[in-house]
C-alpha cells in the first residue's frame, strides 16, 4: 500500500487529532459545532471502512474482529452525540451558562476524548491502551467540570481522584502482565504486544497472571462503574453537560470493559490461571442488584439514568463473565443496544432539563402533554431500557436470562430479581414524568430530534429483526471471547 492511499486505521486517529487542533484555535462556536459534527462523521466513515479493508496488525495498532465492533459502535454514538451536542450547546450559549471560550475548550476536548477512545480500541500494546484510556478519562474529567459550579467541580474532582486510583491499579496490573510475559515472549515492546501475548500466553506463569488480573479488574472496573467502585459515576453523569453524560454511558464505559475483555481472553487461554468469569459474574450481579435498588429514590433525572447505566454494565459484565457462545453473544448485543438506548435517553433528557430549567424529577411532570415529541421519545427510550419487547434490549436480556437458566439456574434468581426491581423503579418514575399533571415551562423545544429517534429506530429494528450477517458476525466474536 502506498503512503498516499487511504488508510482507515490512521484516519480513525488522525481525524480527531487534527480536529482537536482546529477546534482549539477556531473562535466561532457555530462553526466549531459544525466542524465537530463533520469530524465525527468522517471518523465514523473511516471506522465503517475498517469493516471491509483491514490493515495487518503492527507493533502498536491492530484491528481484529473483536475491536472493530467497538470502534464502529463508538464512532457512531460519537457522531450522533456531536449532532445532539450542536443543538444542546446553542441553548447553553443563549442562556449564558457557557461562554464561547469554554465552548472552544469543550469542542477540542470532545475530539481529544474520541481520539483517546479510538486509540484505546485499536491499540495492540497493553501499555499504549493504558495511556489512551488515561487520555480519554482526563478529557472527560475536564468536560464534567466545565460548568464551574461547586457541584460540577466536586463531581469532576471525585471522578478525577477515583479515576486516577483506578488507572494506577490498572497500570500495576499491566506491569505484572509484562513480568509474566517477559520470560516467554522476550524483553522490550514484544512483551506488551497483544497479538504476540495471546499466541504464547499458555506458557506464562499463571500465578503472576492471576494477581495481574485482580489489579486490572479493580483498575478498569472502576472505569466500567462496577459496584463497589462506581462512586464517581452518578456525580459525573449528573453535573456535566448532557452530551458528555451520553458519551460516558454510551462509550467510555464500553471502552473500559473492552480493556477488561482483552485481559479476560488472555487469562482464559492460560490453562493454569484462575477462570476470570466468576469474578466478573460476581461484580456484575452486585452492580445490577445494587443499582436496581438505588433507582427508586433518585430525585435527579440524570442521576437516575446514571444508576441505570451501572445496572446495565452489571448485566453486560455478568453475561461476559458467564462466557460461552450464547452468553457472549447476548453480552455484545446488550452492550450495543444499551449504548444506543442510553445515549438516546440522554439526548431527550438533555433537552427536557434545558426547557424545564431543572433536573429534579419532582419538577418535571406531564411531558407527553407539554412536549409530545420529547416526552414520547423519553417514554420509548425508558420502555426500551427497561427491557420491554419488541425493542432490542428485550432480545439481549432474554438471551442472558435464558442462557443463565440453562447453565446456572441459581444465578438466574438474583439476575431476574435485579431486572424486575430495576424495571419497577423505572416505570414508577416514568409514570409521573411522562403522564402526570403538567408542570414547568411549556416553551417549544428547539431540539434536533433526529439523533434520538435514529438510535431508537435502530434499537427497535434490532428487536424485531437482526440481519443475518450481523448475527453471524456477533457469533464469530462471541467465539473469540471464549
Amino acid at each position: 500500500m502506498s503512503a498516499l492511499s487511504f488508510n482507515p486505521l490512521a484516519a480513525v486517529l488522525l481525524i480527531p487529532a487534527c480536529a482537536t487542533v482546529l477546534l482549539a484555535v477556531l473562535p466561532s462556536y457555530r462553526l466549531s459545532a459544525r466542524l465537530n459534527v463533520l469530524a465525527s462523521l468522517l471518523t465514523l466513515l473511516s471506522a465503517v471502512s475498517l469493516l471491509v479493508d483491514r490493515p495487518a496488525p503492527s507493533q502498536f495498532l491492530m484491528v481484529d474482529d473483536l475491536n472493530v465492533v467497538f470502534i464502529v459502535l463508538s464512532t457512531l454514538v460519537g457522531f450522533t452525540t456531536s449532532v445532539f451536542s450542536a443543538s444542546y450547546i446553542a441553548h447553553e450559549i443563549e442562556i449564558g451558562r457557557l461562554s464561547p471560550a469554554s465552548l472552544r475548550f469543550y469542542h477540542a476536548m470532545y475530539q481529544v476524548m474520541m481520539l483517546g477512545m479510538n486509540l484505546a480500541l485499536v491499540a495492540n500494546n497493553i501499555g499504549l491502551m493504558w495511556v489512551a484510556i488515561e487520555i480519554a478519562t482526563l478529557s472527560t474529567v475536564l468536560m464534567v467540570g466545565i460548568y464551574r459550579t461547586p457541584e460540577a467541580i466536586e463531581a469532576a474532582w471525585k471522578y478525577f481522584i477515583l479515576g486516577s486510583v483506578g488507572i494506577a491499579l490498572a497500570l500495576f496490573g499491566t506491569i505484572l502482565v509484562y513480568m509474566a510475559a517477559r520470560p516467554v515472549v522476550g524483553e522490550g515492546l514484544d512483551g506488551m504486544t497483544w497479538t504476540l501475548l495471546i499466541q504464547r500466553v499458555a506458557l506464562f506463569d499463571p500465578a503472576l497472571l492471576n494477581v495481574a488480573f485482580v489489579f486490572l479488574l479493580l483498575g478498569y472496573g472502576t472505569k466500567v462503574g462496577l459496584t463497589p467502585l462506581h462512586a464517581w459515576l452518578p456525580d459525573a453523569h449528573a453535573e456535566g453537560p448532557t452530551p458528555i453524560s451520553a458519551v460516558l454511558s454510551g462509550l467510555l464505559l464500553n471502552v473500559a470493559l473492552y480493556a477488561l475483555l482483552r485481559f479476560k481472553i488472555l487469562l482464559a487461554a492460560n490453562p493454569g490461571a484462575i477462570a476470570p468469569g466468576p469474578l466478573l459474574v460476581t461484580m456484575g450481579l452486585t452492580s445490577l442488584v445494587f443499582a436496581a435498588f438505588m433507582l427508586y429514590r433518585r430525585r435527579d433525572i440524570k442521576r437516575m439514568f446514571a444508576y441505570s447505566s451501572i445496572e446495565h454494565m452489571g448485566i453486560i459484565a455478568f453475561a461476559f463473565g458467564m462466557g460461552g457462545p450464547l452468553a457472549n453473544f447476548a453480552g455484545l448485543l446488550h452492550m450495543t443496544m444499551h449504548s444506543l438506548t442510553k445515549s438516546a435517553i440522554f439526548f431527550s433528557v438533555g433537552h427536557i432539563s434545558q426547557i424545564k430549567g431543572t433536573q429534579k424529577i419532582a419538577d418535571i411532570r406531564g411531558l407527553t402533554v407539554t412536549h409530545p415529541v420529547l416526552g414520547w421519545g423519553l417514554v420509548l427510550g425508558v420502555v426500551a431500557i427497561a427491557g420491554m419487547p419488541p425493542l432490542g434490549i428485550f432480545t439481549s436480556e432474554f438471551l442472558v436470562v435464558s442462557s443463565t437458566f440453562a447453565r446456572q439456574p441459581l444465578l438466574a434468581l438474583p439476575l431476574v430479581l435485579g431486572l424486575l426491581v430495576g424495571f419497577g423503579a423505572l416505570f414508577l418514575q416514568l409514570g409521573a414524568v411522562a403522564f402526570g399533571e403538567p408542570l414547568g415551562s411549556r416553551a417549544p423545544a428547539k431540539a434536533s430530534h433526529v439523533p434520538m429517534f435514529a438510535h431508537l429506530a435502530l434499537v427497535l429494528v434490532a428487536g424485531i429483526y437482526l440481519p443475518g450477517p450481523l448475527v453471524a458476525w456477533f457469533q464469530h466474536v462471541a467465539r473469540i471471547l471464549g
Binding site: W130, V165, I167, F172, I175, E187, M192, A207, R299
Partner: protein
C-alpha cells in the same frame, strides 16, 4: 548481576517502603510534603541505579523527571497552595496513628506474601522490587483513605505512583516507562492545578449532611 548491584537496588527500594511508612504518621502538612520530597529523591536514585545496572539509558529520563518534577517543583507548588488556602498550620488526625501504622505494617506483610509467592520463577531483583513496589502502592492508598485534606490526598496519590514507577523500572526491559512517567506527571500537574484553581480544601466526607445532599443533587 553482581551482589553489590543487587544490594544497592534492594537498599533503595527498601528505603522507599520505609519512607512511605514514615509518611503515614506525619500529622503536619509541611512535614508530610518534606518527607514526600525525600521519597521522590530516593525514587530518583533507585531509578538511576536501575538505569546503570540494566544499561538502559532512557531510564535516566524517568529518574530526572522524578527528581525535578516530583522532588522539587510539586513540593514547592504545594507549599504555595497551602499558604494560599490558609491550611499551612493545620494538623490532621482522621484515624489514630497507632492503628494506621499497624494497618501499614499489615499491608507490607501482605504484599511480601503475595508477590514473593507468585514471582517464584522471576529473577531475585525483580521479585524484591515488585514486592517493595506493591507495598509502596498499598501504603499510598492507605495514606489517601486516612487523610481528608486535598493536599495530603495528592501526596498519597504521588507516593502510590512512585511505587508504580519502581515496579516499572524493576521489570527489566519494560517498554514505554518514560512515556508512562510523563503521562503520570501530566496527571499530577492537572490535579495540583485543579486544587489551585478551584481552591479545593477537603475531600467530600463532611459531617454536614445538608452539604452532602446538595452535592448529590438530591435535595427536593
Amino acid at each position: 548481576m553482581g551482589q553489590f548491584d543487587f544490594d544497592v537496588a534492594h537498599l533503595l527500594a527498601g528505603g522507599l517502603v520505609l519512607i512511605s511508612l514514615t509518611m503515614l504518621y506525619q500529622d503536619r502538612l509541611y512535614a508530610l510534603i518534606r518527607v514526600f520530597a525525600l521519597h521522590a529523591f530516593v525514587l530518583a536514585l533507585s531509578v538511576a541505579w536501575q538505569a546503570a545496572i540494566q544499561n538502559a539509558a532512557h531510564l535516566y529520563i524517568t529518574a530526572a523527571i522524578a527528581l525535578v518534577f516530583k522532588g522539587i517543583i510539586i513540593p514547592v507548588a504545594l507549599h504555595r497552595i497551602m499558604v494560599r488556602l490558609g491550611i499551612h498550620r493545620e494538623i490532621e488526625t482522621v484515624v489514630g496513628i497507632g492503628p494506621t501504622m499497624l494497618a501499614g505494617i499489615g499491608l507490607v506483610a501482605l504484599s511480601m506474601v503475595v508477590m514473593l509467592r507468585v514471582t517464584a520463577e522471576a529473577d531475585s531483583l525483580a521479585r524484591e522490587d515488585l514486592a517493595f513496589a506493591l507495598s509502596v502502592v498499598l501504603l499510598g492508598l492507605l495514606l489517601m483513605v486516612t487523610r481528608r485534606n486535598a493536599v495530603s490526598l495528592v501526596v498519597g496519590f504521588m507516593s502510590l505512583e512512585n511505587g508504580l514507577i519502581l515496579a516499572a523500572t524493576g521489570a527489566k526491559g519494560m517498554p514505554l516507562v518514560v512515556e508512562i512517567s510523563v503521562a503520570f506527571s501530566v496527571l499530577i500537574a492537572f490535579i495540583v492545578i485543579g486544587i489551585f484553581l478551584f481552591q479545593i480544601r477537603e475531600r467530600f466526607d463532611t459531617v454536614d449532611v445538608g452539604a452532602l445532599d446538595r452535592f448529590r443533587g438530591e435535595r427536593r
